[in-house]
Symmetry: C2
Subunit: 171 residues, 2 copies
Amino acid sequence: MQSEVVASRSADPKGPRSRSGGSPPLDAVSLAIIEQLQEDGRRPYAAIGKAVGLSEAAVRQRVQKLLDQGVMQIVAVTDPLTVGFRRQAMVGIHAEGDLDPVADALTAMPECEYVVMTAGSFDLMVEVVCEDDDHLLEVINQRIRALPGVRSTESFVYLKLKKQTYMWGTR
Amino acid sequence: MQSEVVASRSADPKGPRSRSGGSPPLDAVSLAIIEQLQEDGRRPYAAIGKAVGLSEAAVRQRVQKLLDQGVMQIVAVTDPLTVGFRRQAMVGIHAEGDLDPVADALTAMPECEYVVMTAGSFDLMVEVVCEDDDHLLEVINQRIRALPGVRSTESFVYLKLKKQTYMWGTR
DNA sequence: CCTGCACCTACGAAATCCGTGACGATTGGA
DNA sequence: TCCAATCGTCACGGATTTCGTAGGTGCAGG
């Protein structure tokens, strides 16, 4: 009964400029569904439906589509320390030539959890997750710095992780 | 029927050096459960049980404990671009005095998704997620640089995110 | 020896998931 | 204007899963 999120479709015939990358057909209802699943990835479809004003089946189909499209994924995230990875670092990389092959090589390393091309004094930034100091040293000194195109690196070893959320859209 | 992960308890009376930070050991079976949920956070308990060699109820109780202890959480993660956040940056911060209050202030900002204290030429590193350039500029120039204790900052605007996984333990 | 504790299994009831068919609204073209 | 195609939603029943609870076992401490 409780309306609230009515008129979601008719309210927005064309979307507010779809000039973005390529796939932003995300209406307010889907956003609300994502917020629900960011609070609890296992929340039942019926409960989500009640919260966003949709039937269970509708929620289920939307969630399935969001997953298929790769817009979101539902996963377990863990505290690296508790699973045995005691050394982490952010590594800034200065490179020369085409950055793509370098980035691809970094992406292929399982220890690199996060690879991003940046503007600024670094060309690439990589988050490295390792078991101990020896492991970290090996990854940075033997593997990353050995890549062709890598000119130099600068490491920032993590002392304390203060915040880590996954709440885009939940603002 | 298929054994495989038998004798999980008796096999390891003390663990291979539990000199870790302080959290509990986390045995091989829980690790395997986490791996299953990292592939699909909604996988049914029975399916997980079959994969790791436990009953449905046992898996359910272990998962519940892992969630309660904060060892892991099951959440939806999204591609920031698709949800309308088009500018991201890593910000390195030079600070003076006690770092904790600075880190706490950063943590309180919803735009800061990731806050970590580091060793190296930066004292703190922060990942900022914003809607557009104006938003990013405001957060960095007006909010972060205005914090007491912040001496200077350096920004690395994201050009292309190449990799982002949540696969600790799945190596 | 026995008590307490942590962990696992077993099992029935309730809730959830999933496939399917139908209905209403919107779109594009004759 | 009208018609057909498409998309999103709802309704519903059966299979599956979840959930609470009761009972059994191995281990450490008294």
